[in-house]
Symmetry: C2
Amino acid sequence: MPRSVSPASLTPTPAPLGPDQPTMTHAEKIRDQLEHEIASGHLIPGVRLDESEIADRFGVSRTPVREAFRLLAANEMVELKGRMGATVRKPSAQTVIEMFQVMAELEGLCARLAARRVTPELRMRMERTHAQLVDASRKSDVDGFYDINQTFHETIYEAASNHYLAEQTRRLRNKTAAYRRRVTFQPNRFASTLDEHSRVMEAIFSHNEEAAHSTMRDHVNLLSDDMRDFIASFQ
Amino acid sequence: MPRSVSPASLTPTPAPLGPDQPTMTHAEKIRDQLEHEIASGHLIPGVRLDESEIADRFGVSRTPVREAFRLLAANEMVELKGRMGATVRKPSAQTVIEMFQVMAELEGLCARLAARRVTPELRMRMERTHAQLVDASRKSDVDGFYDINQTFHETIYEAASNHYLAEQTRRLRNKTAAYRRRVTFQPNRFASTLDEHSRVMEAIFSHNEEAAHSTMRDHVNLLSDDMRDFIASFQ
DNA sequence: TATGCACAAATTGTATACACTGCTGCCGTG
DNA sequence: CACGGCAGCAGTGTATACAATTTGTGCATA
């Protein structure tokens, strides 16, 4: 039986331990946790974030909570409305579509650079990840598919050798995570994704930059297309 | 005589009045002012930002200053180093090059969408802006050239009709402003820029999406090339 | 002279108290 | 009954005080 997708879970999962710096300030820990809860869907877009309530939940004062809000605000994960409080950002359907368009282009650039710079070692890792994805698809393992898919894209970021680009793309992926996650359910997306990934890999391995760029862009845009109806229902 | 470029000025200029909301919090005002001072070059990358000092300067307590730092941090204008203070972000030469590569792609996407959606009204505005740019070039008006060039790109963002994309591109332009500004000095860049803009416009007006994308991308990449030596000297 | 440790000063992180704003609900009036 | 104003409240913005950590300085020692 496939694991249930995270948003269905009732208790917030802890954020996957990040850099785990020993001197991590409270504000940063709260930021990471809230960001994770937003991306995973535990915090629904539009809900108000109460400073005192969250402060109590984490057992700290309002100060670090406020700082976490500011950090999240500039990441566009939450919206600050003056004295009217902070809310989980709820982009309009139009904005979500626009975000996907930008993401498609950034992912496309990643693929283009990957086609230029891919190494045999990375090629092997991509193929192995792809095989895992096929496996998850066979088992209808939704969560597994979602995670391995993430790894596949991460590997391409790495092959692109542009840390700044990787970071920006990763951020955008995270911002759209709450929306992408739902589409993973659609059974026909499994097959389509695998097929599209194959074409992207083929282009990258043959060092065909243009093809890598366009196939990856189309891959993300197709995802976007599949989501439009669903996105509209978000509003 | 050409006006001197801003970084040469000794006194920080006030931030150009933005949205100017009546209920603008201290933290937001400080953020805008500091962001402007960083982009204009008055605050040099790498310098430490002292909370108390800035608090005194703005006549407020440390609290709103700290919040402004957090807001700037997520915009990647400022780097927070735990208890070791905040500094104006100083990206490595490698990172600056990477930022330009991403910006080239985003500007390219703007041009692509503009080619698809440009209206006669916007075409007229672009041509008018271009004429102003030619004029500034003749007068060797460096600051004017810089500002009008900004307007030219803004017009393309508008033609692209993707607000999210426009915002992201604008941000990245702002982050690279301190570096781009220096290159404007180079006399040969005037002529090259005018020529490249002409080609971009031609592609956009003829609704040639691919050409619009690639000419704009090349335009930004050429700027990046002209900067590499200079960027290296920043370190 | 160079190195290591200890202590002091400076600076940031957090908590708490107060000020101010926007909202809610009630009441009076038309 | 509908509408407008006023008071009280809830919640954010700011200031200040205190705790924790980093950094710099000086001295002792090899």
